[in-house]
């Protein structure tokens, strides 16, 4: 039986309650009759022999690029850059796609007699990965061959000695990227394209860029003009990256782009009810739900967080394509859409969503309040093509505990952002003008970013800019079950129950509103007609 496509359910009196994520917990909520629930398509069939598929892709590139073996020669400088801990979500069961791809690339390089090979984690301003995380991503064999000899490095956007300025785009944007990558004879970039935003020119132009270069598109103006940033053709974020990518190419950096897509098999067997449609739950799913919901309610959040972050997703590879960046990315985008696209008729007054424990920026960490905002207003809100799911002036309701807790190792500048910036303003434009530079250039944050495992000082600002489009668009944001003081600090409204939240929403959008629930994860993309 082939996997079923995505589905929009109309809630009627016989519809069972709908699952809402609440961070490390979840609940079943009865939605009003007439509401719609959007479900993702079922997981696509994975590639039967991924290694063969990878080798095929490397030897049969798309677009204006030669097969990989033809690009390899003795004495050359080869750099392999790959996506960091933010992909995929949740982290996948071993072997990770990056390991599978890199092993094949290294195999071909060895065959060609290439001995100057370096691996670079394309961190941009993300935190450096830990040893166990790296081992998981690229496998012990690759790690042990490179790391002890200093040949596995993590991109440092603040190391002036390790950056090269390639020039300005026609819009005057600085293009400054990793020096080793820029000076290599060949730069192989290994992507995991979890969502449509990932990959393309963004891989190198963002992943290996400096702060100076990033600030040209990581800003409120760009984000407001990206509708959505999941839709390359209507995203200013992408336009900027494409301008930069083309300049990188013109500068002579030879990029061999490898992109891969995953199916949306997100949770292991014990949690598989999380990705099923509620009315199709079997007895076992119900038991699993009841058992885990009850257990989680009695588990301290810290412990529950540990349990969830240990989850490795059974994602499988559905496609791999390699070659010239733009040609590769076109195919990838289509493959992502095949897994995630759902056609939705018309916008809604109220959009509801349950926020899970994880976002790209808190793997093995806590979803702090700023990341809560970013996950809801930045990511989930933008999972659309065409028009936003919710109409302009509509209300977004999210469920999440939203406690004011932060990870001091990963998110030190977030703590100060929460205490010093959000207490003054929640306006992305105001904060970018008044506060961004101080955080971005702060020597202590820079120190922690460069030597530890901290996100760059400016990162919380980016998270807030990610919300800019939604903040402009929405009439109100309500968080259900959140810590009231924290929710207010974010500039949102706080409700105890979904029923209360719906009452509050009616004050904004009027009586008898339409309601749509986006049932994610698994990730879906709404094609709003």
């Amino acid at each position: 039986m082939s996997p079923r496509p995505g589905f929009v359910l109309d809630v009627d009196s016989s519809t069972p309650p709908t699952l809402f994520w609440r961070g490390e917990r979840f609940s079943l909520e009865k939605l009003p009759e007439g509401s719609r629930v959007i479900y993702a398509p079922e997981p696509l069939e994975p590639l039967k022999d991924p290694v063969a598929a990878i080798r095929h892709a490397l030897t049969h590139p798309v677009g204006d690029q030669k097969p990989l073996p033809d690009l390899l020669f003795p004495g050359m400088k080869l750099t392999i850059a790959f996506d960091d801990i933010s992909l995929p979500l949740p982290p996948m069961e071993r072997p990770d796609i990056r390991q599978m791809v890199i092993e094949q690339v290294l195999d071909m390089a060895a065959t060609a007699g290439v001995d100057d090979v370096e691996l670079i984690v394309a961190l941009a301003l993300h935190r450096r990965m830990t040893e166990p995380e790296l081992r998981h991503a690229i496998g012990d064999r690759v790690y042990d061959a490179f790391a002890p000899n200093g040949l596995l490095t993590q991109h440092d956007a603040e190391d002036p000695d390790a950056l090269t300025h390639l020039g300005l785009t026609d819009q005057g944007e600085d293009v400054e990227i990793n020096k080793r990558a820029a000076e290599s004879d060949l730069l192989v970039y290994v992507n995991i394209n979890l969502v449509a935003m990932d990959g393309g020119h963004k891989s190198v132009a963002t992943g290996l860029a400096s702060y100076k270069s990033l600030l040209h598109h990581h800003n409120p103006a760009t984000m407001v003009a990206s509708k959505s940033f999941m839709d390359q053709h209507r995203s200013e974020l992408h336009s900027a990256n494409w301008r930069m990518g083309r300049l990188i190419k013109e500068s002579g950096v030879n990029i061999f782009q490898i992109e891969t897509t995953l199916n949306n098999d997100t949770f292991p067997e014990a949690f598989s009810f999380l990705q099923k449609r509620e009315w199709e739950w079997k007895a076992r799913d119900r038991v699993n739900y009841l058992a885990s919901a009850a257990a989680l309610n009695r588990t301290p959040p810290r412990v529950a967080r540990g349990i969830f972050h240990n989850i490795k997703a059974p994602h499988r590879m559905t496609s791999v394509q390699a070659g010239e960046v733009e040609a590769v990315h076109k195919i990838t985008t289509e493959n992502v859409w095949a897994q995630q696209g759902v056609e939705v008729e018309g916008q809604t007054d109220i959009l509801t969503m349950g926020l899970p424990y994880i976002s790209p920026y808190n793997v093995n960490s806590i979803l702090n309040p700023i990341l809560v905002a970013c996950l809801g207003l930045g990511y989930f809100f933008n999972l659309y093509r065409g028009k936003p799911l919710v109409r302009e002036g509509g209300v977004l309701i999210m469920t999440h505990p939203t406690t004011p807790d932060f990870n001091p190792v990963h998110h030190p500048s977030y703590i100060d952002f929460f205490e010093q910036v959000l207490t003054e303003t929640t306006d992305p434009v105001v904060m970018s003008e008044q506060f961004e530079e101080a955080f971005a250039t702060d020597p202590w944050y820079r120190h922690l970013y460069r030597t530890g495992h901290a996100y760059h000082g400016v990162h919380p600002f980016y998270m807030w800019y990610w919300c800019a489009h939604a903040l402009n668009h929405l009439g109100a944001v309500i968080i259900v079950g959140g810590d009231a003081k924290t929710v207010h600090r974010l500039g949102f409204r706080s409700a105890t129950t979904l029923t209360d939240a719906l009452e509050m929403a009616r004050d904004v959008v009027g009586p008898s509103p339409s309601l749509t629930h986006i049932h994610t994860p698994p990730i879906l993309m709404a094609d709003v007609k």
């Binding site: 002890p148 000899n149 807790d405 990870n407 998110h411 530890g452």
Partner: protein, 825 residues
């Protein structure tokens, strides 16, 4: 016609004890009511200010003078200065220690009022003897000298001497006491005052000697250490000397009380006062016109200068407040007994009236005589009535506890004094015990503050106990102080004087006095909580923070452990050592370290320096390069999760304000290295090295205790910065020297001892917590270093040195930590 005022107009008064409750009111009243009268005030010489400056600051600034300030307007200062002068002197020394100038000033006075006394119940015997017993005679001696001086100029000198005594010298026994000299009082036991003086002085010498016995001194030092922990020699010495002085004082109080009681007095106060009267009359009764004024218990003003005026926290107030707070359940007393209270303005008026009367009719005052100023006979306030008034008032106007709940005052049962004392003693003992137990626990932060609160409550209970001991005797006495002479004087006064100087105890309406005057006045003075609702965060903290974060500050010094992060040297060691232990051996390693915990803690508490020295030996033979590498990992994976984000934010704020920041810590250099960007200067411990390995011995004294204060002082001096403009943050009493060295000490998550100290001294306290969202490992175990176990490190640390390190650290772990810890095993 105003006989009293006419007699006093333009006269000059000499007043002792002007800075006291009664004295202040007297000065104000004379200024306000006696035309052109001038005053010479005896002021104890201060180190900085002249007597006149002190007089202006300590007397005239008081709100007693608000009424005059208003009446005189702009001319207040000039009026006051033109009519008041001050001379340096002390009633505790012969002839009041007057110099020639002072004696000359005295010789030009007409009336001398001696109101200086030590009224507190806990005066040491010898102090009470010097001031209360010998004081009046010393003043009289000075007056005699002044009269001689005046005679050389053909003047007469002081005409009349009015010493203020207390009604309780007459009797604390049942029955009525007349206004007569003690010689005429059949109940007054006649002892030779000279012998008493000698005995008291001898006893001081003996007690001082006793306090210097080695066993005692050892005990004092032990107590000091208990209080301050390892704060360093200098502070301990200072503290133990204070404890010795306190001990001597306490002994002298006990001795005084015992002696007084053996002679039938409740305590040293009436005993010394009575002997003072006797000494004065015996020596000068025939030579000098003397009129003794004996008030009973002086309380807040009935009407002058305004109803309810009071100065200082009087004796009855702590009792009333303790009762209103529910601390004191009962107060001993006989329900039908009389509580003899007299408002201060009546006493002041009586002194002035007596002075005026004496000057107007000197023949009537040729021999020594006595006036009582008391309410018991003319207008008795029964004890039961007082209790009823107080109880009703606090039922209607309850105080509120910290949670904003009204405190219900207890039902009064009129118990005997013994029972109340036992009750209080039990309460104070229980609190003392709790305090000692809590003080020994390794708690900090909020709990430690709670404990400091415990101490405060104990002190209040202790004070109440003291007052019960003192006042108990008075409320239980049935003595009635007759006021026939006072009333006769009142009758002699004409209408004008009567309007100006109310001395009639019958004029006081006790219900109005208690309900509308005295209790509101006490409540206002005692800063207790009189409104419901949780107390809002005191803006004192806000002010303190503003002060600390002023751009004017120079240096911000920080301790590390428990000030900026919840970590310690043992954690760090455990992490670093376990990082190189194969997984199989880690459990045993941790178990060993945990078992050692109590002895390590004990050693740390006893002497931080010894602890560090012995503990750091464990790093012997550990490879230097390896530890420096691991230090970074330690910081980013363990220490950072234990940092206090508020603390780091504060530190960074100081930097942003341009303050210098300095870290002073006993932690090792390779542990604190990752913190370097936060500080202008880091002073930490360093181990010696040999052939790339650590020797396990400190290179120099670790920067702890007093060394911190010195380091900070040196730093400030070399950089041209000022310590009084600097801030220090620390968590433990062992950091006292550093905290005391700066102008703005801040106690961070203080452990019990420091919490108590901070509270007493009003230091700013911060409570900083770890970020809740970080990983919080139960055990400080380093992740096993697989990287280094699989290949050579590019920085040249080989697997061999890794193994050596594991071996070295493991060996150390099993070894005794040094002599200090042995005795704790």
């Amino acid at each position: 016609m105003t006989r009293v005022r006419d007699a006093l107009a333009g006269r000059r008064f000499f007043i002792t004890g002007a800075t006291g409750f009664l004295g202040t009111a007297l000065v104000e009243r004379i200024l306000r009511t006696v035309p052109d009268a001038e005053m010479v005030l005896l002021i104890r010489p201060g180190r900085r200010a002249t007597p006149m400056q002190r007089a202006l600051k300590e007397i005239v600034k008081n709100d007693c003078f608000d009424r005059l300030r208003e009446e005189y307007g702009d001319s207040f200062e000039s009026q006051v200065v033109s009519r008041i002068s001050a001379v340096a002197g002390d009633v505790g020394t012969d002839r009041m220690g007057l110099d020639d100038e002072g004696l000359d000033a005295l010789s030009r006075c007409d009336v001398v009022v001696h109101s200086a006394a030590t009224v507190s119940f806990d005066s040491p015997l010898d102090t009470a003897v010097e001031i209360n017993l010998l004081g009046p005679s010393r003043v009289a001696a000075a007056i005699m000298a002044a009269r001689e001086l005046a005679a050389t100029d053909g003047r007469t000198g002081p005409l009349h001497f009015i010493p203020v005594s207390t009604a309780y010298v007459a009797s604390t026994h049942q029955g009525e006491a007349r206004e007569e000299l003690l010689d005429a009082n059949p109940f007054s036991i006649d002892v030779d005052w000279r012998q008493e003086v000698d005995a008291a002085r001898r006893q001081r010498g003996d007690t001082e000697a006793e306090s210097r016995q080695p066993a005692r001194l050892e005990q004092f030092l032990k107590e000091a250490r208990q209080e301050l922990g390892g704060a360093g020699l200098h502070l301990l010495a200072e503290r133990s000397e204070r404890i010795r002085e306190d001990w001597v004082k306490k002994q002298m109080v006990t001795i005084g009380q015992a002696r007084a009681q053996s002679l039938g007095w409740p305590d040293a106060y009436p005993y010394t006062k009575a002997l003072g009267e006797r000494a004065l009359i015996q020596q000068y009764g025939d030579e000098l016109p003397i009129t003794i004024v004996r008030p009973s218990i002086i309380e807040s003003a009935w009407a002058e200068p305004r109803a309810g005026w009071i100065r200082g926290f009087r004796m009855a107030e702590p009792i009333i407040i303790s009762y209103a707070r529910g601390l004191l359940k009962e107060f001993p007393g006989v329900p039908e007994g009389v509580t003899d209270v007299i408002p201060v303005d009546l006493v002041v008026a009586a002194i002035i009236a007596v002075a005026g009367d004496a000057l107007a009719s000197p023949e009537e005052y040729a021999g020594p005589s006595v006036y009582h100023v008391a309410s018991g006979v003319r207008n008795p306030l029964r004890y039961a009535r007082l209790v009823e008034l107080v109880t009703n008032w606090f039922t209607e106007h309850p105080l509120y506890d910290a949670d904003g709940q009204p405190i219900v005052v207890p039902e009064w049962t009129f118990p005997g004094r013994g029972r109340v004392q036992r009750q209080l003693i039990r309460a104070t003992q229980a609190m003392e015990l709790a305090e000692r137990i809590v003080g020994a626990l390794p708690i900090r932060g909020k709990q430690a503050e709670w404990m400091a609160g415990l101490e405060e409550r104990r002190q209040l209970a202790e004070r109440a106990l003291g007052y019960v001991e003192l006042y108990g005797a008075y409320t239980e006495t049935d003595a009635l102080y007759r006021v026939d002479r006072l009333l006769a004087l009142w009758d002699r006064m004409d209408a004008g004087d009567q309007a100006m100087f109310n001395i009639d105890p019958g004029s006081v309406d006790w219900t109005t006095y208690v309900n509308e005057i005295h209790l509101p006045s006490i409540i206002e003075h005692s800063r207790v909580k009189t409104t419901p609702g949780k107390s809002v965060k005191p803006d004192r903290a806000v002010r303190a923070r503003r002060n600390i974060l002023s751009p004017d500050r120079h240096v911000a010094a920080f301790d590390l452990e428990n000030t900026l992060m919840a970590s310690n040297v043992v954690d760090c060691y455990a992490w670093l050592a376990s990082r190189h232990l194969p997984p199989a051996e880690r459990a045993a390693f941790v178990a060993g370290l945990v078992a050692e915990g109590p002895s390590l803690l004990a050693l740390d508490r006893k002497d931080r320096g010894d602890f560090l020295r012995s503990f750091y030996q464990r790093y012997e033979d550990a490879p230097v390069a390896q530890l420096h590498d691991d230090g970074w990992e330690l910081f980013h994976t363990l220490l950072l999760t234990k940092t206090f984000p508020d603390g780091l934010a504060r530190l960074r704020r100081h930097r942003a304000l341009g303050h210098r920041t300095i870290l002073i810590t006993g932690a090792l250099d390779f542990v604190v290295e990752p913190l370097r960007p936060l500080f202008d200067e880091i002073v930490c411990a360093q181990l010696g090295q040999k052939d790339g390995l650590y020797t396990g011995r400190l290179e120099k004294l670790p920067p702890i205790g007093e060394a911190r204060a010195l380091i900070l002082a040196d730093y400030a001096e070399s950089e041209g910065l000022r310590l009084d403009e600097s801030i220090a943050y620390a968590d433990s009493a062992s950091d006292l020297p550093m905290l005391e060295a700066v102008g703005f000490p801040v106690a961070v998550n203080p452990e019990a001892k420091l919490a108590a100290i901070a509270r007493r001294r009003g230091w700013h306290v911060e409570h900083w917590a770890k970020a809740a969202g970080g990983a919080q490992p139960r055990l400080p175990l380093g992740p096993f270093d697989t990287r280094r176990s699989r290949g050579a490190d590019r920085r040249g640390v080989t697997t061999t040195s890794m193994a050596a390190m594991a071996g070295a650290l493991r060996r150390r772990a099993g070894r005794p930590t040094g002599e200090g810890s042995e005795e704790h095993r």
